[in-house]
Amino acid sequence: MAIAIPIPVRRRRTITRRLPAMLALVPAAIAVVVVYLGCMLWTVRLSFTSSKLLPTLDFVGLEQYERLLGNARFLISVQNVVIFGALFLIGCLVLGFLLAVFIDQRVRVEGTLRTIYLYPHAMSFIVTGLVWQWFLNPTLGLQKLVQDAGWQSFTFDWLVNKQMVVYTLVIAGVWQFVGLIMAILLAGLRGVEEDLWKAARVDGIPTWRVYVSIVLPILRPMVITSTVLLAIAVVKVYDLVVAMTNGGPGTSSEMPAKFVMDHLFERANVGLAMACATFMLITVIAVLAPWLYSQYGPRARRRPA
């Protein structure tokens, strides 16, 4: 039945007809207006106040932001989120791409391997954090394991080492997220034409060269989507830190998301917390805007959402 039958609808009746649809969208409208827009603007507004335990509505200009930039704990948080973010992104993309390529070599038990690579993503960051905290525990975990095996001088105390603790978060984060990236990139690899491989074989181009020079550019959209997903996950990182290190030792693994929570609910410094939240918001917008523009902007090719 390919023929669409136009329904004649009289204008004054359309409003009553569409009323139920409008009513159905009321919860969405409330969520958007009150939470997504209202609460966000309120947060930004509060970042310009001197609010401590309770919100006030005075205006102190950029005072909270100045305080934020002079706050050692915040500066550590930013440094950590940059280190964590860079390594987490590179780790997930490189390992995820390698896993996708290797699993795409017509291997046996592909389904089982995929299941194994992806299962960490089904679990909570709290679970991931606690498991890795236990495994990397210097007294009873990996360090002891290697020492007991005969290598007495082996040390792996990153979890309690101020300089190295952020790298343990990278390990756990990659462990949890890389399966997702593999799944996204694998879907892209499966979309590469078989003819491309035939042509490359005829021309005698080495396989690795085809992957780097031809396949990778084809996978560009998937790589970009993965990067955006990972970048957003970096800004959000909170549960993992709380479970694995709780910001420690000392303040050496603090993160901005945790800074906000601590200053809101423990340190009763709402203004400063809201300044940090606004800072996170700006970071996300900076990541999101170019991507949204390239996907849905005027120059983007129309494609089904």
Partner: protein, 294 residues
């Protein structure tokens, strides 16, 4: 779209390259399985064995005592009722949150796909962008707002929060699905005199089974694994399992019972893992569709 066959070259015989491929894949599989293995082993060992033995070794004297202790005796602060309290709290949060968020998502998707409502597209765009914004940006005003309405620290509060923050992905999921259905279907139903609710309940919803499965998988794992929202909005009486787990493990004074900790961790991971292993390819579909949620 996705082809069913792998795209790589077809292997002709065993070469060093093939061995390398398998070596890499197996080494990676070990890396992913190791924490699960350690978690399970530790949870059935005695503390003596944990202190003296090898973290990878099979238990000499397997015991389920840590599991029992984790379930019904482990302490969070002053209360020592085990993680079962958190389990039941999570169940009480999960059921209404999953049902309501899926229902609202389906309704939104349906209204957006078939009923031209003024401003609906703008609503949808803001919702989608909102999905990317960290919770910290909304949390504090939301706490104040909920206090005013008297639903801060309550089951109602946390369910509303899950509905609101699940709305972007649920709406996206159903909107994409309903948009892919032929428009004639809707027109035919209109000609037969169907109104908004009738068409939704008798035509659309019965066709939505695949999306409903994906939505249930997404929401069950997502809401079960949530930590920050439960911590902030549920209140002392309703803390979900993830929050209780973290309290049990990380706020203990004195010597830590690692076997009990790991048993509690396994118990918390169990629900999403069962969903994951039981749903197989559906889970991959779900996260591919829900990738926005990050």
């Amino acid at each position: 779209m996705t082809a069913a066959e792998p795209a790589g070259r077809r292997p002709r015989h065993v070469t060093w390259g093939r061995i390398g491929v398998y070596a890499f894949l197996l080494a990676s599989a070990l890396f992913f399985l190791l924490p699960l293995w350690i978690m399970l082993l530790t949870s059935v060992k005695t503390m003596d064995e944990i202190r003296l033995g090898n973290i990878l070794a099979l238990p000499a004297d397997p015991t389920f005592q840590p599991w029992i202790a984790a379930w019904s005796e482990a302490c969070t602060g002053l209360a020592c009722d085990g993680i079962q309290v958190g389990f039941w709290n999570s169940v009480r949060i999960l059921i209404p949150s999953v049902i309501l968020s899926i229902l609202i998502g389906a309704l939104n998707g349906y209204a957006l796909s078939f009923w031209r409502v003024r401003g609906a597209e703008v609503l949808f765009a803001v919702l989608l962008i909102g999905a990317f914004i960290p919770y910290q940006v909304f949390l504090y005003p939301l706490v104040r707002l909920f206090s005013v309405f008297g639903i801060y620290n309550s089951l109602t509060g946390i369910v509303i929060v899950h509905i609101v923050f699940g709305m972007p992905i649920m709406t996206l999921l159903f909107r994409n699905f309903y948009s892919s259905l032929p428009r004639e279907l809707f027109n035919a139903a209109r000609i037969d005199g169907g109104g908004f609710a009738t068409i939704f309940l008798r035509v659309m919803l019965p066709m939505s089974t695949p999306m409903l499965i994906v939505a249930v998988i997404l929401q069950v794992t997502g809401i079960w694994n949530d930590f920050i929202l439960g911590l902030t909005f549920a209140g002392r009486e309703n803390l979900p399992m993830t929050v209780q787990l973290n309290n049990i493990v990380n706020s203990v004074q004195g010597e830590r019972a690692y076997n009990v900790d790991m048993a509690a961790t396994v118990l918390t991971a169990l629900v999403p893992l069962v969903v994951y292993f039981a749903s197989g390819r559906w889970f991959v579909r779900g996260i591919a569709a829900g990738a926005v949620k990050g």
